[in-house]
Symmetry: C2
DNA sequence: TTTTTAATGTTACATGAATAACAACAAAAA
DNA sequence: TTTTTGTTGTTATTCATGTAACATTAAAAA
């Protein structure tokens, strides 16, 4: 459950550098970044190299410069418009959350099948699901959050495909595979909890296995 | 973003086998499991072997038997009691969610600093944060979900440590490192969205990179 | 009873990702 | 001006994880 991939690391670098910046720092060395994140300094330099981020041989990296470049890579310097399908408990929580803008993300509309949820006013409208094709086309949306009930997940996937959505953050426990047409990130809260409970129950405090897993059977 | 680790795969096996079971199937071969998940059959057999799940040489694996063993390994045959700290938008959504029981998870209490949130009645009480030590001890709780505002995240971590909580599912964007004492699963919704947006913006439909990342700079 | 078959369980290999090592070199010191 | 220093950028190595290959063996077929 450590840092997984290059893009995830870029986000970690960004958050750490923002903290350095708020402390008044201007430049950093690769190990200043590596140590707090528990990774090697050479990996930081390799990542930077791969993304064309360069430093100076004695003075390290300019925090401002790196941050700007990371935001460019991640697209966080623009506003990325995202829609939500299913404005229930999870959908509503996400819709009213105001922490997305710092990463260049804006929830611009919700869509629901229930007429009671439809809301024309307010800064983020909730529209009937039938309007999705038109809205996505007119506003050039490519990413959607799926927060409908499990039973409606499959049909919602088809709807989103038809609307030419390219990426889905899927909160339902129904697992979808990514295809060439559409990338799905299955965000399964149950699974994460089960995983966590397993570790807590099976690993002792010293970090070693409490008992051989095969003894568990 | 494929299947990450052994325990995550066990969950995938479980869900797939449940679907097979509901179709009336009784036995499966390793490739019946591997193919739908896009992994190799030898990995399925290796996983099963590591967890002491065995099949028969001609008849494959008994679905019922494997499911029972997986649930045992994951602890899903018992009830795992979990508490929530911070009963706001996310916390409330999780608290009222009734999909956890199928994985042997039960949210048994919420804790909040705001007196208006305190709720003695109902099946899941919301208690003042001061009561946490006593509650955790009396009910032998080891896992908590953190859904407090970012600003309260650090102090909440300390509170949970003092209460001897062993595992945290952390919904705040504040990243905590796991230690020998406590395992933290940082569940960062923003990061997942940024990651998704990056892929959608940078990979063409054919699955190849749209452009070299270094051209992005 | 013997042979064949088709699956498991296990070992060897490949691949990819992180770390370690180091060469290159700009800045500072002498 | 020359030497030293310390950090970047890059190459070599290690390590982990998944796949491929295969040896084993219970059941079916002959
Ligand atoms: N609430 C949680 O804490 C939680 C936890 C884990 C997983 N989930 C999953 O997240 C998903 C949403 O959960 P929730 O608790 O927000 O559900 P919910 O029932 O509160 O909300 C679902 C919303 O989707 C709408 N909807 C139903 N069918 C639709 C359709 N075909 N098209 C568009 N909208 C439709 C409903 O009108 C409702 O507003 C579920 O799949 C659930 O399993 C939720
Ligand atoms: N809402 C979302 O969609 C969303 C999305 C991504 C991340 N998050 C993160 O999840 C966390 C919770 O978000 P939210 O929208 O549910 O917030 P919220 O403000 O709706 O709820 C927070 C709750 O925590 C309680 N609280 C505050 N300080 C506390 C303390 N010291 N101890 C116990 N309880 C305390 C508050 O009384 C409130 O009930 C935040 O860190 C947020 O950044 C939320």
């Amino acid at each position: 459950m450590t840092i997984q991939n290059r893009i995830a690391r870029l986000l970690s670098y960004k958050h750490l550098l923002n903290r350095f910046k708020s402390l008044g720092l201007v430049r950093v060395f690769s190990d200043n970044i590596a140590d707090p994140l528990g990774i090697s300094a050479s990996l930081v330099r390799k990542d930077f190299g791969l993304f064309g981020i360069s430093g100076s041989q004695k003075g390290g990296y300019s925090i401002e410069d790196v941050l700007h470049k990371i935001n460019n890579i991640l697209g966080s310097n623009e506003v990325n418009r995202v829609i939500i399908i299913g404005v229930g408990r999870i959908g509503e929580a996400l819709m009213s959350y105001n922490g997305f803008h710092k990463d260049g993300i804006k929830i611009v509309a919700g869509f629901d099948i229930d007429v009671k949820k439809i809301k024309k006013t307010g800064d983020v409208p909730v529209k009937p699901i039938e309007d999705i094709n038109e809205y996505v086309k007119e506003n050039n949306i490519s990413v959607a959050i799926m927060a409908v009930p499990d039973i409606a997940a499959q049909q919602t996937l088809e709807i989103l495909k038809r609307a030419n959505i390219r990426g889905i953050l899927n909160f339902t426990p129904v697992k979808f595979k990514s295809t060439d047409d559409i990338t799905v990130n299955n965000f399964n809260i149950e699974n994460e909890l089960v995983n966590l409970i397993y570790f807590v129950n099976n690993f002792k405090k010293n970090g070693k296995e409490a008992k051989r897993v095969s003894n568990n059977i």
